[in-house]
């Protein structure tokens, strides 16, 4: 996802001389091509993230289009007040790109995990949040982000995420995507974990539970229609996110259903259960350990499906 973002950023910089990349000493090699061709528009701000964000806001006030970039906790949490006051309050055209969504930096420990960022970013007025699920979407969403005037938080993985889409995919900001059809239950996911949700749906199909998978790549503003339709069509919603369950994406989905759909829905959120992830291993191993793996999705959908059938009888 990271390289796809950078490919798009390179093209944006080529076509718009106001595009400027700011990093906080992260992304050494991956920015090489960009840095070589646009040396005046690459600023390594050093390990001083808060200053980077406010410098970006100042640049934006002069018509520049700054894309700021570093590891997710440092760009969203260290800098939170700068993002609130200098970017969001000014509705400044600053893009905030956090690399290493969720548990992506699995072995680097809790300081490098990002499981609180959705919660704190979604509560900021004027902020939009994009969370692509694969490299193709990451690239296309980067172009879409550049079209938006105002703050955007872009939550991406690192590298090596599997491709889900093919190149014919057309990204639409604010519109959720049906990744797999299904009529018995729906899994709604965001980010790289959409891939696991698709795998879970494939497994559930073998057990005759037809499970729809929705990719919500725009967390804010969220696509209410696709969520309500899935609640109506399937009656079972399981949300999954690589984020703390408190304040996360699942709460956003739950709010949409509660406020807009007046019928019973079986609902379950899967996320990190309000703990720090002091546990080491691969990314997949961490997801399984903290209850957001494919198996967890399969189990929860089956549980809710049994309940639904039971009520139906």
């Amino acid at each position: 996802m990271r390289n796809a973002y950078l490919d798009a950023l390179y093209e944006l910089a080529k076509n718009n001389k106001n595009v400027i990349a700011l990093v906080a000493d992260i992304g050494a090699i991956v920015y090489d091509k960009y840095r070589e061709d646009f040396p005046d528009r690459f600023i390594n701000c050093g390990v001083a993230e808060s200053n980077m964000i406010t410098v970006a806001a100042g640049l934006a006030s002069c018509g520049k289009v700054p894309f700021t970039y570093t590891i997710t906790p440092f760009i969203t949490m260290r800098t939170y007040e700068q993002i609130r006051d200098d970017v969001c309050l000014h509705n400044a055209n600053v893009k905030i790109v956090g690399v290493g969504a969720g548990l992506r930096y699995s072995t680097l420990g809790p300081t490098h995990h990002a499981i609180e960022d959705i919660a704190i970013m979604k509560t900021l007025p004027n902020m939009k949040i994009i969370s692509p699920c694969d490299p193709i979407e990451s690239k296309m969403a980067t172009f879409a982000m550049a079209e938006i005037k105002g703050p955007v938080y872009f939550r991406i993985g690192t590298g090596g995420e599997p491709r889900i889409y093919d190149s014919s995919y057309k990204y639409q900001f604010g519109k959720g995507v049906v990744m797999r059809g299904g009529s018995d239950a729906t899994i709604i996911a965001t980010g790289g974990i959409v891939y696991d949700a698709i795998k879970a749906s494939e497994e559930l199909e073998k057990e005759n539970i037809s499970t729809r998978v929705i990719n919500i790549h725009t967390i804010k503003p969220i696509d209410k229609e696709i969520i309500i339709k899935s609640a109506r069509d399937t009656g079972i919603i399981v949300t999954v996110e690589e984020h703390n369950i408190e304040g996360g994406f699942g709460e956003s989905v739950a709010s949409v259903i509660l406020e807009n759909y007046n019928h019973q829905v079986k609902f379950k959120r899967l996320g990190i259960k309000d703990c720090f992830c002091s546990y080491y291993g691969s990314h997949q191993e961490l997801k399984s350990h903290f209850g957001i793996g494919k198996k967890d999705m399969v189990r929860e959908v089956k549980n809710l499906y049994k309940q639904k059938i039971h009520i139906g009888e």
Binding site: I20, D40, R41, I43, C45, G46, A48, S50, N51, I53, T54, V55, A56, A57, G58, L59, A60, S61, C62, G63, K64, E81, Q82, D85, D86, L89, H90, N91
Partner: protein, 278 residues
């Protein structure tokens, strides 16, 4: 009106605004009256009729709590209507306790939380350098504000990028909210700190109009280096009982006697108040 008369008028105006608001940062405003008037009347290349011009100088009130002072000056310069000054901090007013850019014409940056203005100014200065503009960017900081780490991140950034059209002015009144700066978290050696961060420093008496104008006409002090003016000031300047007493950081006179003294010392005619104070 000569500058000294404007200084007097603005101090009066600030106290009257805070009277009608029922509160306000009077003393922190009074320490930088001369600084802001020198800037707005002699230094800044800005024009209310052409404010969106990309070539304009920028002024950032990083110590946003001196908003009453900024509004009084913006009104004097015609950016906003003088008639709204006495709505300060009251229902439906656009004039808040900290300035908001999208509400008030002439406010360059919404401030309030300390330690943001210098970074924002550095961003504007960097844009100017990239776009080969000749504008200057001025940021007024309080000394207490310099306890924020972000100020020093900005200081590093500005000197690294040789932003010699960025000028920090520190309203060095030696007091912060609760006590003397030196009793809370000293900045000393203050001049050497800025120098070691790669800034060219000048020290002045921040209440001496001639010194202020002289120094600001000489920027940049050194080519390729950002400039900082450390302006030695008196918090609460102009009202004897407010001067150098931290209790007046966020406070207006309370007793009739205090009001009488403040009005007398500032030369306020009591008919300027909406109602006679008790």
């Amino acid at each position: 009106m000569d500058l000294e008369s404007i200084v007097k008028e603005i101090r009066k105006k600030v106290l009257i605004m805070c009277y009608h608001a029922g509160g306000g940062h009077v003393a922190p405003s009074f320490s930088c009256v001369e600084l802001l008037i020198a800037l707005y009347f002699k230094i800044l290349r800005i024009d209310k009729n052409n404010y969106n011009n990309d070539d304009r100088d920028r002024f950032i009130l990083s110590k946003g709590h001196a908003s009453a002072l900024l509004y009084a000056i913006l009104a004097e310069k015609g950016f906003i209507d003088k008639n709204i000054l006495n709505t300060f901090c009251q229902k439906d007013s656009i004039l808040g306790g900290h300035p908001e850019k999208h509400l008030v014409h002439g406010v360059e940056m919404s401030t309030g939380s300390l330690g943001h203005g210098l970074s924002y100014g550095a961003g504007i200065a960097l844009a100017g350098k990239i776009n080969k503009k000749s504008y200057r960017v001025f940021a007024l900081l309080s000394d207490g504000e310099c306890q924020e780490g972000s100020v020093w991140e900005a200081a590093l950034f500005a000197s690294h990028h040789k932003l010699d059209h960025l000028i920090a002015i520190v309203d060095h009144n030696k007091l912060q909210s609760l006590d003397k700066v030196d009793n809370i978290l000293t900045l000393n050696p203050f001049v050497e700190k800025w120098q070691s961060f790669g800034w060219e420093v000048r020290e002045i008496n921040g209440h001496n109009m001639k010194e202020i104008i002289d120094v600001l006409e000489k920027i940049p002090f050194s080519k390729n280096k950002p400039s900082v003016v450390i302006a030695h000031t008196i918090k609460g300047k102009g009202v004897s009982f407010m001067e150098n007493n931290p209790i007046w950081h966020y406070r207006i006179p309370h007793t009739k006697e205090e009001w009488e003294i403040a009005c007398k010392e500032l030369g306020i005619d009591k008919s300027e108040f909406r109602e006679v104070f008790k």
